[in-house]
Amino acid sequence: MQARTAGAAGRGLGDAGARSGGRPLDRPLLAVAVALALALLPLGSTPADAAEPDAAARGQAARIVVGSKNFEESRLLAEMFAQLLEARTGLEVERRLGLAGTQVCFEALRGGAIDLYPEYTGTGLASILGAEPQPGPEGDAAATLARVRREFLARWDLHWLAPLGFENAYEIAVPRRLAEARGLATISDLARAAGDLRAAFGYEFVERPDGLPGLAETYGLSFASVQPMQQALKYRAAAAGDADVLDVYTTDGRLATHDLVVLADDRGFFPPYEAAPLVRGATLDAQPEIAAALSLLAGALDAETMRGLNHRLQEGREEEPAVARDALAALGLLAGDAHSAAPFAATGEGFGSYLWRRRAQLAARTAEHLALSAGALLLGVLVAVPLGLALERRRAAAETVIRAVALTQTVPSLALLAFMIPLLGVGPLPALVALWIYSLFPILRNTYTGVRDADPEAVAAALALGMTARRALAEIRLPLATPVIMAGVRTAAVMTVGTATLAAFIGAGGLGEPIVTGLQLADTRMILSGAVPAALLALLVDATLALLERRLRPPGID
């Protein structure tokens, strides 16, 4: 169905920074920090509230959360669900779009962090249930739907509502001139020619049982090379002559604009992938009107229509809300003119005016990003500095504890974010926790070594004159360690601001959102509109902390 974009988890290296616990924090700073922490709370608490079934019974507008995976069609369908629910029910709809792949989305749904998202029956069968694809009548669309319906209901009380009317299946495509030159019409033809062909497949396709592993086994395929690649880049690679074989999706808008030939699945390997809303049973019990509203979309969309809509997103650079509105209006489900002019066809628009046009979103993303980073950093300081001080008094345990915390740094950021989902759902809360965990090590290490190595002669003299070790820690070691601790905090801050871009993968928003979406669309300008502000934000945060460091630095030391 879709390629999952695996974001590389780049994290900054560095060493250093923090505030000193011994002297009072500047009051305005404290106020800002607390305000930021508070700002995060409502965000963090949504997943749990949203799933509460009796919210409507309490007489207030109940809220449901619609999720999606991180590719255009999934986002578009989710946006259509959301708009339809807003128009046809009294529900308040929250969007958590762009979650990183099937696993994340499904876990979020099962855990109640989201109430529904668009899924594909074949994906449900192969990826979620882990069933072998079944060629023949056993594997036709109706049988597949029946089977996933039965099993999802029994295992998890999750409901597949009526399919939307189109399939978005995996297919295998080759450039037309290659197909003609080598006489390729079916995947069996391809299997004979594959030995010297280079494949470019999506990350998820390479791993999924209903992707390359099963396909290769069924057809005896063996390529000269297989390059896992991000969805939009595959098309570019093929156009540039760097890839010969791609996995594509039936409704991909790019099929029309790239000169590709889809090869027939002559052994019926790929299961049917009907798109349908997948909804929690608890949500349907509490808000039955959801099923009624979404049934309006049953069978309403065909593959041709979806290709057109996807094309508007992929090549036209339009955004989901507008495209979704048009699609619903065209179906007569939403008032409004069916074709609000393609808003941002965006040819030749400068980067500056692009940013200016998107300033409202960027400001919101930046605020989310800053709140997330600052909250994580603040929690990091609140935990790591006292822990570092405690370890100075228990040095025998120090190395063990610090090494254990250092281990958290070796977990790739994206993996850590994914681990948070079963525990904390999706959205800002798990992102906050993951970022907090990353911030601990640099602050802890610098705090501990800073207080441990603080002016040994001065400390020894004070102890010899009858100062207690505890007091020496508070009055001598900690103030003298302030520059070192601050260096650790600054390292953690820059890392946190950078890593927070990955939080978009689990629906936490922030400046990673344009980056993730831009990666999906291979839209450099959109990527930059997230990456450049994120970099500037990191510099700004570092500069602010440098100022703070200067103020906290005790007098009389260099």
């Binding site: 002669e457 001065a458 020894a460 004070a462 004159l465 009858g466 030391i557």
Partner: protein, 258 residues
């Protein structure tokens, strides 16, 4: 050879009886030392690095612990005392001053009075007096940080800090060791004047025999964790107890001649 009888005959202010320090690895830092320092007396401990002189000094404020034998201050075994309370009653001057860098001179000098809970006015007054004792004007130096002082000034502040709470005993661990020769001489002169004026009991560690002879009422020579001889300078010079002490004295004479 062994400890001289306590000249004053009264109960010694500081006393070590067969004190030994053996580290976990079996290294003997001190190997059965007897030493008694009378009230008001200054004893200089000399010896090369590793002779155990600093370890012996540190037994008295329990910054090192005897693994055998007994250590007494004011007639009371230090092992029975709370180390923190013990230390607040004993002045201490380390080699590098050990001033707290982010505190002003005045705050450094007020350290022990503050730890002992003196009220602010009395602290101020005593700090001023202590600074004046070591020849520093409190108005000029009180608000400065150690970094802005010369090495000699820093050592003076360290001495003022040791004296601020007016302890009966002061331990000095190579207090002038890191200073240039001229500054060292000047400080030694002032130290002598202070010694006479204040009548404190002092234990002074030095590797410099000249300094030991100038400042000590008695000089104790340590080697390999044992005291080879403890005697007034004149007696030590006249009757070295063994070859090691003699060789030290000859070295000193040779240096004076050169």
């Amino acid at each position: 050879m062994m400890t001289e009888p306590n000249p004053a005959g009264a109960e010694p202010m500081l006393e070590a009886r067969a004190a030994a320090v053996v580290y976990a690895g079996g290294v003997r830092a001190l190997d059965g030392v007897d030493l008694a320092v009378a009230a008001g007396e200054t004893v200089a401990l000399v010896g090369e690095s590793g002779s155990g002189k600093s370890t012996l000094l540190r037994l008295f404020n329990r910054t090192a612990e005897a693994t055998a034998g007994e250590v007494l201050v004011g007639g009371e075994p230090v092992a029975d005392r709370d180390p923190v309370a013990l230390r607040r009653g004993i002045g201490y001057v380390p080699q590098e001053g050990g001033l707290i860098p982010h505190w002003t001179v005045r705050r450094n000098v007020e350290l022990v009075p503050r730890l002992s809970g003196w009220e602010r006015g009395r602290r101020r007054e005593r700090a001023g007096e202590a600074l004046a004792l070591v020849g520093l004007d409190p108005a000029t130096f009180g608000d400065r940080h150690p970094r802005s002082l010369s090495g000699g000034q820093r050592q003076r502040v360290a001495i003022a800090r040791a004296l601020a709470a007016d302890p009966p005993v002061v331990l000095l661990d190579e207090p002038f060791g890191a200073l240039d020769a001229l500054t060292r001489l000047a400080l030694q002169d002032e130290f002598l004047a202070l010694e006479r004026r204040l009548g404190k009991t002092m234990l002074l560690v030095t590797h410099d025999l000249d300094e030991a002879f100038r400042l000590g009422d008695r000089v104790a020579v340590l080697k390999d964790g044992r005291i080879r001889q403890a005697a007034p300078p004149a007696e030590l010079a006249a009757r070295p107890a063994d070859d090691y002490v003699r060789s030290l004295l000859e070295l000193r004479r040779a240096r004076e001649a050169g």
